[in-house]
């Protein structure tokens, strides 16, 4: 993951700030990719664990956009997903000495076993993250799954 940080002009070390905030976001993305792609059984719960990663005001929209955010309706046919490379770049926003927001560009590729064969799994997303009392949450997103347009 490539990381950078934006903060106040004075007394701010972007490299140190980015390094400090990176583990938390890596953990968040790992959780995201796990529930969105590696556990097709999430579909049976209505993607509850995935939606929990979104800030409350955008959960309803995310529920409508599941096909662009995770396996979505295709999950019923997927037995397993073999993860391929995941790449992310993140820009943190610092205020008051801590990361309070972040923009993440995420790319994930893998392959899905669908019984009669395999198919590609692909995600290209931009997430605007907000630090909340529950940890990082997605406040806004642009996301696409499937083949590139």
């Amino acid at each position: 993951m490539k990381a950078a940080a934006q903060g106040p002009e004075r007394g701010f070390n972007p490299k140190t700030a980015a390094r400090r905030a990176t583990p938390g976001v890596e953990q968040f993305l790992s959780r995201y990719l796990t529930v969105a792609f590696l556990d097709p059984g999430q579909q049976r719960t209505g993607w509850r664990d995935l939606l929990a990663l979104f800030d409350t005001p955008v959960q309803q929209a995310a529920r409508r956009d599941l096909d662009a955010l995770c396996l979505g309706t295709a999950a019923t046919q997927v037995k397993t997903v073999r993860p391929g490379p995941a790449r992310a770049s993140v820009i943190f926003l610092y205020q008051g000495g801590r990361a309070v927001g972040a923009t993440i560009k995420l790319a994930f590729d893998g392959s899905a076993d669908v019984g009669q064969g395999t198919g590609p799994v692909r995600l290209r997303s931009v997430f605007q993250l907000l630090w909340t009392t529950k940890g990082w949450r997605i406040a806004s997103y642009q996301s696409q799954t499937g083949a590139s347009p």
Binding site: Q6, P57, G96, G101, V126, L130, T132
Partner: protein
């Protein structure tokens, strides 16, 4: 030492004569002991709930003639005269909005002060009286108040890399320091300020100036959206830029929501108008009287139209 400040809040609209502002800015709380904040963004009403960001949000964007030491204008911006006045209404559900400029000499009822020039309201009673004056005049509820000064406008515009504006006339105004040809161009902070201030040499005088100030606001929003469309990470960059320039008491969640909200209304669907008016006198003072069309305009905005 002054309390830290910084927030991030609006960035988008910056502008005006004294003008100006930012609808989306950012702030943090840092320990700053030197310069006063160039721009202030706050909720219009203390204790009011944050807007939902799903419908319409209204900003009162004000440029003060004070609080600009770099331009030799001392005093606190919030106690100066409000010489640049714009209501900015953004409607995310309709993806449209309106910027309504008010000439500073608009002669209107000021609560507790009879009829007076609208730009005196802030000097009489601070931002809260100015907000009440606007709400009483227009019947439009204001969600946010943004205040800036000469310093604030120039600093902010420079930091975002200038604003792109279609200058609508050739201007040669020595008083404002505005020398520019008609046509689209990127204005630096100093030139944006000059464009926002030029009045005496313009056909239409204060009306043209108010329209130009609205252009700067829309240009700020357009600049923000263009940069974010190119690179979504620019949201954080803009918020960080605002960090040192904007004082706000808004929680970070609200600041980021404002920044995200400001992406949703295309500048091409923002109608920049000046409230219908005519010039006149009150005693020996030159004033601007609002025409009946002004009240029709307010009614249309209240009804959710973009004027």
């Amino acid at each position: 030492m002054r309390r830290p400040i910084a927030a991030l809040v609006t960035l988008a609209l910056v502008g005006a004569l004294v003008g100006v502002a930012g609808t989306v800015g950012v702030t943090t709380f840092l320990n700053r002991s030197d310069a006063a904040p160039a721009v202030t963004v706050q909720r219009a009403h203390k204790g009011a709930a944050a807007p939902s960001f799903k419908g319409r949000i209204t900003f009162l964007v004000v440029g003060s003639d004070s609080g600009a030491p770099k331009f030799g204008r001392g005093g606190a911006a919030e106690r100066g005269r409000a010489d640049s006045l714009h209501l900015v209404v953004l409607d995310t559900s309709k993806r449209q909005g309106v910027v309504v400029g008010f000439p500073r000499d608009s002669y209107v009822p000021v609560p507790g002060y009879g009829r007076n020039k609208i730009n005196a309201a802030m000097a009489f009673g601070g931002p809260s009286l100015l907000i009440r004056t606007f709400e009483q005049l227009t019947g439009i509820n204001i969600d946010y108040f943004a205040l800036t000064s000469f310093d604030g406008l120039t600093d902010l515009v420079n930091k975002i890399g200038g604003v792109r504006v279609n200058v609508d006339m050739n201007i040669r105004d020595r008083v404002a320091g505005a020398f520019m040809n008609k046509g689209p161009q990127r204005l630096s902070g100093a030139r944006a300020l000059a464009y926002s201030r030029a009045r005496k040499t313009l056909p239409g005088g204060d009306i043209a100036r108010s329209r130009h100030q609205g252009q700067i606001l829309v240009g700020g929003l357009a600049t923000y959206q263009a940069q974010v469309a190119k690179d979504p990470a620019r949201v954080m960059k803009w918020l960080a830029i605002m960090n040192d320039e904007v004082q706000t008491n808004l929680p970070i969640r609200e600041q980021i929501n404002l920044a995200l909200f400001a992406r949703t209304v295309p500048p091409s669907r923002l109608n920049n108008v000046v409230v219908p008016n005519t010039t006149g006198t009150a005693g020996r003072a030159s004033i601007v009287r609002l025409l009946p069309g002004a009240y029709s305009l307010f009614a249309r905005v209240r009804a959710g139209q973009s004027a």
